[in-house]
Symmetry: C2
Amino acid sequence: MRKAVIAGIGSTAFGRHQDRSIQSLAIDAGCAALVESGVERSRIGALYLGNFTAGPLCGQEVLAGITADELGLGPIPATKVEGACASGGIAFRHAVMAVRAGLCDAAIALGVEKMAHASGADVTAALNCAMDNRSDGPSGLTFPGFYGLAWRKYAAAGRANRDDVSAVVIKNKAAGLKNPLAQMGADLDLETIAASAYIADPIQLYDCCPVSDGASAVVVTTPELARDAVAEPLDILATVQTSGAPRIAGHADMCSLVATVAASSQALEEAGLGVDDLSLAELHDCFSIAEILNSEDLGLVPRGEGAAWAAEGRTGSGGDRPINPSGGLLAKGHPVGATGLGQIYEATIQLRGTHSNQVRGARFALTHNLGGAGVACTVSILGRPDA
Amino acid sequence: MRKAVIAGIGSTAFGRHQDRSIQSLAIDAGCAALVESGVERSRIGALYLGNFTAGPLCGQEVLAGITADELGLGPIPATKVEGACASGGIAFRHAVMAVRAGLCDAAIALGVEKMAHASGADVTAALNCAMDNRSDGPSGLTFPGFYGLAWRKYAAAGRANRDDVSAVVIKNKAAGLKNPLAQMGADLDLETIAASAYIADPIQLYDCCPVSDGASAVVVTTPELARDAVAEPLDILATVQTSGAPRIAGHADMCSLVATVAASSQALEEAGLGVDDLSLAELHDCFSIAEILNSEDLGLVPRGEGAAWAAEGRTGSGGDRPINPSGGLLAKGHPVGATGLGQIYEATIQLRGTHSNQVRGARFALTHNLGGAGVACTVSILGRPDA
């Protein structure tokens, strides 16, 4: 396998883009990544696009082919990939694999979603397509419900109270205020969070990521072809994709998802690193409790101590285990298919040392993108070339 | 790149499966392919699933992860791929690439669709997601309309009359009567076809493929791992994926789609074959006129002579250029995401020499799967190992 690097990145802001077509969001992000990469369009040999809800919410599929056409990439293979909220991470992995395997010398991965125009009922129905709808969906379950159940189990073991979980919300919302691409940063306190509306008890309003539009893109290529990149290319040390049970009954423990545990250990092995080598992680905090559970599954904090680490401030950008300095899904937003590539975008800027919420001396960054109730997962590890 | 072979195939019948979940269709086909392949489930390292409309029509996504879970494949990467009606061919190509590149020693590709339960309006809306809906969709265009326009242009050049095109319908519907998996075989004559209802003038009822449910699956592996297969493994000589313009205005000539032309020439080059080496082709006859146009784009017949070859019977299973001896989409059916893998299934049985509409002495077979108005395409070439 050849070495692959990140040569360029691009992203729209995450938020509401009522006046924009979903196509134009993808194309904006793709153009920016191509220009930054310095790679000639004729050298791009594959396009992967992550998207989840454009069929039901925008009446639009074949976004991979549309984007390849409009970016002027010629009749290259252009593939939409779907793994619910992990679609963007899956697109990134496939672009990396195409370059590593020598199928092409450069590839572009994009993620895009446009949801904020749709009604709450339509968005919920579209997101619920990520469940196994022979079982969980018909029971009335939604994803806030899934994570609410996991939180109850975690809390019943004495591992977290409301204020412990609120520490995640306060950290990520504050980070969002520093991120120019973030949809919903905020300066919050424990009282405001505790007084907010219940969504799926114990999950309250500020525990939930917003509904978002947006697109992100990454150009992956060989070190040789990346020589004209605007910024120094970054090493892709690992990219792993896993799957897991699609329904509650398939999980031995709702507080631990097999797909994440497997992806993390495989990625660290592939990169030849331990968790203490990681400078930061951008992980899938679709709900505040999800950041805590995922931080444990990834091995970033000891099992059962995720809430305590958050409450002690150890996962802040200045702490000993920085998590989601971008603001994460909670504050930056969650345009589903774009999220995984948005994480790569944020990690790239951190490793370039130019992030607006910079982790000092960042050398290695992990990204974690999760789909459904653990049905799909990707973990990638990036590194500074001098690291 | 390593050599990859087809070790096992499986398929449901194509047609109406009102009493079945979309998940169960995929799992049936997948189980059959796994059993036939003789490959241990623990050796399957990747799953690719082609599907197009399950989000809007079945309220179900993450079908790749659901299928991997239910087939007992463990936490392997499981990816849904989408390229409209070419989704199945794209799934096959990715399984082949995973084995060829050494990412895993065996992979399974599945395609599935469930549409026949939905209203005609809902099916049309779902299929129209394969257009670029900033342009063609809002004009009122549908896919029968797209192919109706192409037919008019072809006819205006004096290349086909109604009866020439009907020869394709008669051939494929008759072949469907011989295929136990076919949805809608029929014994038709010119008068019946010419008297049928107009759908999008000049396209009439029998010129259109039916709306179908169904699933097909293929296990791809190395020659070494295929030693326990039930039937002799087949060589995969080429598998190519391309993209093209998603809208009418992007085509210099509606009677020729760049994606097909490029995929065919690349696949023949990869296989080291000429069109005269091909024993048969299973190509994308979503409409009767599409078989004629595609046969020209693929280079199977000279440009402008597709209708004449059909009318002269040269594309029958006993002719000098057999096309769609399975009955094709017109008669076997078109469960969109399954179609490309259904073609591989049919070509495999032909090369085993046991097809119910057998092409005598079949050695090499080409399959052609097309998405949207030419926005995505795959062409694969299979061969008998002794060929």
